[in-house]
Homo-oligomer: 310 residues x 2
């Protein structure tokens, strides 16, 4: 039996991602010799112990990271700097520090300077999630066939350390790509962050509109709106931090979005059917690209009404 | 064996909705004595014949509607007025004329005046659809447990005729509600039309952004974006007509949307984390409402990466 990829892994923060990582590591069986967890709140640590999340749940950050070969920050990105400061004195020389945050430039900026010499810093971002939160929300399959992006903080990360972190994510089911931090933040602004903001906004508008009752909004939600509401149920802390830390890219995309939207708004106001038709035809092609790439999702659906008893 | 709900049903336009209506009627077995279909293009009529869509495919509109007890307009709403004008002289006295368009005030305005005295006009809107189009896209289950809204053109529709149309939609699997036309258009602007426009816009922005390649947009599409692309693959003709004919309600919702978006944009620019957090917390409650109403959809997912051969 070969040695596990890491002897001791420390998960800092025990939410959806950390708990899924634990279950996925356990499922594989040979990714980590032992997995310890730490969370700031007593209640979270108690829950984790109760459900068997992690081999050991530590009551202090120091205890968790001591001797760990890999430390993964799974706290909201806004909380990472403080954690980095607190754990730095206790890190084992030569260990790898990583994370799972949805933005990367800001994580590098806020965490990097606190890490001692000799610690290998390889930020990461698994493109996976659900609308649920907390230590009980994780499951082993979350990363299966998902992308996990490794975003090394600088060019000098040893190949061997990159290979180990890649092996961990692949062992948990993901496919790994390496990406530059600023490019990551722009791509994610386009494909995830700005769409989320827009979904939140649409749901907020519906909530405000008194002439349309809440129950109608719920009952008659079409594909578009219900997808938006699912997005708008995502963790508020995580998303607040994403927008505060991926500000430039998000604002750039938002600016472009409002330009396009105003053009479409004018077309509607002036009855320019041709412009609308051309626009909608063009966007159809992008969807084709996704289907052809094997990334298709289920067909859209309107709100299902409960079958009345006959 | 009781008599079918309608002896002869004519489906005008043979796309996703009409074809699904045929298969759903056939599945039930006693909703229609015979179903005839008509489409403007030879190719569509040939395809329909080839796949057994409708008991008879007619080569003229007149032939299709003659003697029909129910005529359902399943053409884009922009095309309905011309169809109404052409078919009017051939309608059987006392028949019901209905439709399946996504807007209702405009359909009443454009179709109503052309219908002869004695014809019962009951516009409808089944809240169901997929991203596919055409005569081959229909299937019997499309309306199962979906809402179908009946929007009578005036207060004098005889109860018996309303009951028959309700029985048809319920027989096809739907649950029926009766709604006022202007209220319908507002509710749909909020829950469907404006979200669609926004999804189209987000996809258009991604398409423009050269620094993020198309393949990255495809590969790393997160839940939000992929849902948007699915929406943006919807039929361009149908959606162009929706926005041209539900202009006022759509522009009202769009106006509110841009107000909210600018407020969030400012919060991001100024780093107002509290405003963002409060906003995202509020929108989560709406999602709860949908789950509690039994309208939940599948969990969101990021782009699934194809498992590389090892």
């Amino acid at each position: 039996m070969t040695a596990p990829v890491y002897e001791k892994v420390a998960l800092i923060g025990l939410g959806l991602i950390a708990s899924s990582m634990f279950w996925a590591m356990k499922r594989h069986g040979n990714l980590a010799g032992t997995v310890v967890g730490y969370a700031r709140s007593d209640a979270t640590r108690d829950t984790a112990r109760r459900i068997g999340l992690c081999d050991t749940v530590c009551d202090t950050l120091a205890e968790a990271v001591e001797g760990a070969d890999l430390v993964v920050l799974c706290v909201p990105v806004g909380a990472m700097e403080a954690v980095a400061q607190d754990m730095a004195p206790h890190l084992k020389p030569g260990c790898t520090v990583s994370d799972v945050g949805s933005v990367k430039r800001d994580v590098i900026r806020s965490v990097g300077p606190h890490l001692p010499e000799g610690v290998v810093f390889i930020p990461a971002h698994p493109l996976a999630g659900t609308e649920h939160s907390g230590p009980e929300s994780g499951f082993a399959e979350l990363f299966d066939n998902r992308w996990s992006l490794l975003v090394p903080a600088d060019a000098e990360v040893p190949e061997e350390d990159m290979a180990r972190l890649r092996a961990l994510w692949e062992g948990m089911g993901a496919n790994v790509e390496v990406m530059d931090a600023d490019h990551h933040d722009l791509v994610l602004a386009v494909t995830s962050h700005t769409p989320h903001l827009i979904a939140y906004t649409m749901v907020g508008v519906a909530d405000d509109l008194r002439r349309v009752t809440d129950s109608e909004v719920v009952k008659y939600s079409a594909a578009g709106f219900r997808d938006f509401t699912r997005i708008a149920a995502s963790d508020p802390t995580m998303w607040r931090d994403v927008f505060l830390t991926n500000k430039d890219a998000t604002l750039e995309i938002l600016g472009r979005f409002t330009e396009e939207l105003f053009a479409l708004q004018r077309a509607i106001r002036t009855g320019d059917g041709d412009l609308l038709f051309d626009y909608f035809t063009r966007t159809r092609a992008i969807r084709r690209g996704i289907i052809d790439a094997g990334q298709d999702t289920a067909a859209p659906d309107f709100g299902r009404s409960p079958r009345k008893a006959t």
